[in-house]
């Protein structure tokens, strides 16, 4: 069942007759992999990627939609595990498609006659975004916790613009003795860790 929150944001309520139990969750993990640790990692990977896919489709409630997808799969996992052949991730994808369609329909009804896309994707211009002073403060703290090599890499990888940036990165890759794409991946991983650190830091900061 779908509900609209007081704030006007879209949210999904699970079917009342079905609740994700520990048994169902265990069966789901067992279906993903016989090894419990591997299964946990696969589960996390699927959930993270589903959230990303819903985000890429412009859904503000990406996490809720991903969890709804997982719950629907979990509710049928005993049946699926007996007959389904193939990568379980693709089964999740098929269910996610259905969840997304229902979401679109709901938004469409709510927002009609405005097109779903414009309703879903309306966004303020960047100049209207709130300031990023709290993020900057937290980033400073997070950078201090990084190993010096990582901090130096981030500061050097992301400096400069356009052609100067490309040349600079080639030079940095040569210095580190790695390929340009390996450098790109390394920088992205450090950035991702920093972003998570900033997110955690913001949660601990008093609201402004």
């Amino acid at each position: 069942m779908y509900v609209w929150l007081a704030s006007g944001r879209f949210a999904i309520q699970m079917k009342k007759e079905w609740v994700l139990t520990q048994d169902a969750f265990d069966t789901l993990l067992g279906w993903l992999d016989p090894d419990r640790e591997q299964a946990g990692m696969k589960y996390e990977a699927i959930r993270t990627r589903l959230i990303k896919i819903f985000t890429c489709r412009g859904c503000p409630e990406a996490e809720l939609l991903a969890d709804e997808t997982i719950n629907r799969v979990a509710s049928k996992v005993e049946e699926i595990s007996r007959s389904y052949v193939g990568d379980p991730a693709l089964y999740f994808y098929a269910v996610a498609q259905k969840v997304h369609l229902e979401y679109i329909r709901k938004v469409h009804i709510r927002q009609s006659p405005i097109s779903v896309e414009s309703a879903e994707l309306s966004t303020p211009p960047v100049s209207l975004l709130e300031g990023f002073e709290p993020e900057y403060r937290c980033l400073d703290r997070c950078l201090e916790r990084l190993p010096p090599g990582h901090r130096d890499l981030v500061e050097r990888y992301y400096q400069q613009e356009k052609q100067a940036k490309i040349n600079h990165r080639k030079l940095l890759a040569t210095e580190l003795g790695i390929a340009l794409n390996a450098l790109r991946i390394r920088a992205c991983r450090i950035r991702l860790g920093l972003r998570q650190c900033v997110r955690d830091c913001l949660e601990q900061e008093p609201a402004h």
Partner: protein, 252 residues
Amino acid sequence: MTPIRELQNRIRLYLLGQLSDAAGEELEQNILTNAELFEELMIVEDELIDEYLANELGQNERANFERHFLATPERHEQLRFAQALNRHVTAASQRKSVPRNSWQTFRHTPTFLFRAAAAFVGIALIAGLLWFFLKGASAPQTFATLNLTISQSTRGGGAQVPKVKVPLSKDALKMVLRLPDQSQGASSYRVELESDNGEARSLKPVAQQGSSIMVVIPANELKRGQYSLKVFAVGSDGAEHRLNGNYFFTAE
């Protein structure tokens, strides 16, 4: 186009909402089952954000970025993080010593011919700079002046923020920053100017008078937008201490 370039291009189109439904679904299935592709998606996401902030996206890409890519709170958070990172990196590169970086760049250039050319360009640049400073023709002669006081707010919104019209009718904008009482008496000060698109630059005060310091920005470097200035007091041991609060102004 190499396969990796082609893939990156496809991801880019997908992120900007420009891929067909069928191609998008195929890509999404691969994202769900392939860890490397998922990582590539996140890298391209970051690169798009950085290009947006650096004004490197074409007109259509920029429009699609704002309309489609920035549609979720998650992406707004990513953008704010990128703005913070951008500002930090700019400030860090300004703090780092120029001679070390220049020397490293020179040391790693591949050929002698390139080195010789670089040396020639370097000499020409020094000669040009000498000429520029000796002639002094481009030094600003006329100034528009803004008197700014420190604010504890983290944002520069509101009617009380001083405004200046651009383009300026003078050569440069002079900003007189009134220092809070407890921060006076440092041996020197450093100022960081930041625009609302995340660009930051360091300014050296041109004068220090009583309880105020003055910084100058040439008229041609001032674009429309909101600006904030941070002041760092430098002690006699060289240690920097940031003054609490910001100075805001708007160029409109």
